[in-house]
């Protein structure tokens, strides 16, 4: 085009051969080495953290219109709409408090029964509010960015919840932001139990963002559509007893050893809203969890 008249050799350094074989091979080798080391998660934590700080402005910029729209909606909302919303929220609060009264009684009863059974008491964690940024990541993975990082004490493997249930876990911690894999990500599996029967199984992610599959249920397993799945806590990762998904379809083929069961997550996995980071209560006997707070220290002591 118009650049044609330019001499091919311009006087700048390195310009004579922009695609030199040595440079190409070197950079390709760097890429491959990076992928190798990154595949064993944890080796490149420092680089990931630095890069996440570097790209955070881009993510924040993409999120800005959504944040602005929310803010404007709040500021410009009509008085009547606000009053209406206030009334509705007050009613919801009342309903919830009534249910909470029962919960308190049930909890006490539960503790007493556990004492009778000499089982360890359930420990309650606390939660911290975070926001999912409206930024898409790899279209064939289900991942999301939140606006809290190591500065808020976020650690790798931490559970993320919303008002309805489990969202996923933190897989990468940066200084001011973190990456979260949703429970429907193809790389994720979560230990669940059917709330009705306490039947335990695994729910794994896949291609679809609103589908979990339960591939390890026998053909005669007692499950039916509508059953609630809650975390069992046996994976030592997710806290026990939180809702995960509702079974949507059970298909039993006598020719197959396992039933084909799918479930729909109860949490709102879409982006751009408030979520909760779960901090487990400190147990008297520490759980074998090497990941906890690992971002603050050098990663040499990682087992892998």
């Amino acid at each position: 085009m118009f650049a044609l008249h330019r001499p091919q050799r311009s006087p700048r350094l390195f310009s004579s051969n922009p695609a030199g074989a040595l440079r190409t091979l070197l950079l390709v080798a760097v890429c491959i080495a990076l992928m190798f080391y990154d595949h064993q998660r944890g080796h490149l934590q420092k680089i990931h953290a630095a890069l996440s700080t570097l790209v955070y402005p881009v993510q924040a910029a993409v999120n800005a219109p959504y944040a602005l729209a929310n803010w404007a909606q709040e500021k410009l909302a009509m008085h009547t709409a606000l009053v209406k919303e206030n009334t509705r929220l007050n009613q919801e609060l009342l309903m919830d408090s009534v249910q909470l009264q029962q919960t308190a009684a049930l909890e006490q009863e539960n503790a007493r029964l556990r004492e009778l059974l000499q089982a360890s008491a359930k420990l309650r964690g606390h939660v911290v509010l975070a926001t999912l940024l409206a930024a898409d990541m790899d279209p064939f993975r289900h991942m999301i960015v939140i606006d809290k990082g190591a500065d808020a004490g976020v650690y790798e493997g931490q559970t993320l919840l919303d008002a309805r249930g489990i969202i996923g876990q933190v897989i990468q911690v940066g200084p001011v932001s973190s990456e979260v894999a949703l429970i429907t990500d193809p790389s994720q599996a979560i230990q669940v139990q059917v709330n009705r029967t306490s039947l335990r199984t695994l729910a794994i992610g896949g291609a679809d963002v609103d589908t979990l599959s339960l591939p390890y249920l026998a053909n005669n397993a007692d499950v039916k559509p509508g059953d609630l799945l809650v975390t069992s806590g046996l994976d030592g990762h997710y806290p026990a007893g939180y809702p995960v998904a509702v079974i949507t379809r059970v298909h039993r083929d006598p020719a197959e050893p396992f039933a084909s069961v799918t479930a729909q997550p109860v949490a709102d996995l879409d982006h751009g809203h408030d979520v909760l980071l779960y901090f487990p209560a400190v147990a008297s006997t520490p759980l074998p969890k090497p990941e906890v707070r690992s971002t603050k220290k050098p990663l040499r002591r990682r087992p892998r």
Binding site: P18, T24, L27, L34, V55, V62
Partner: protein
Amino acid sequence: MRNPIRRRANWVIVVTYVAALLLSIWPLPDWAEPFRPAWLVLTTVYWCLFLPHRVGLLVTFVVGILMDSLTGSLLGEHALALLLVAWVTLKLHLQIRVYPWWQQTLVVLSLMLLYTFVLFWVDGMLGYTQGSLLRWMPVLITTLLWPWVMQLLSVLQQRYQVS
């Protein structure tokens, strides 16, 4: 450089790359996500084609690593795919530059196939093989966008005299 009238206008290149990164993570509805064009490939091919002495493999590598961090993929995955695209473009830039637009579009098609194949291959080794057919949609869409993106970028380049 030797001609003082000609400003270097580095910022135009930076702005186009930042725009490409922004568009790459701009939230889309779930159904539209597999159809997202590979904006970064278009930008890389353009600058490697028309400013090969300024934008080369090193810039491509850095941008690719940033893209990896943004998409949460393996560090080096997008960088590797982009590097190969940039390398082919740089090798053939004198020929591709004089092609008519439809022939250039065919070149972009093959570059996109290369790019997608590398990503597909790395993901396959990691075990993420979901949506195999949908994966090839961006190839088509990105290719169709090339003539327009090329026009837009060359207008920008002429307007701000990036050279």
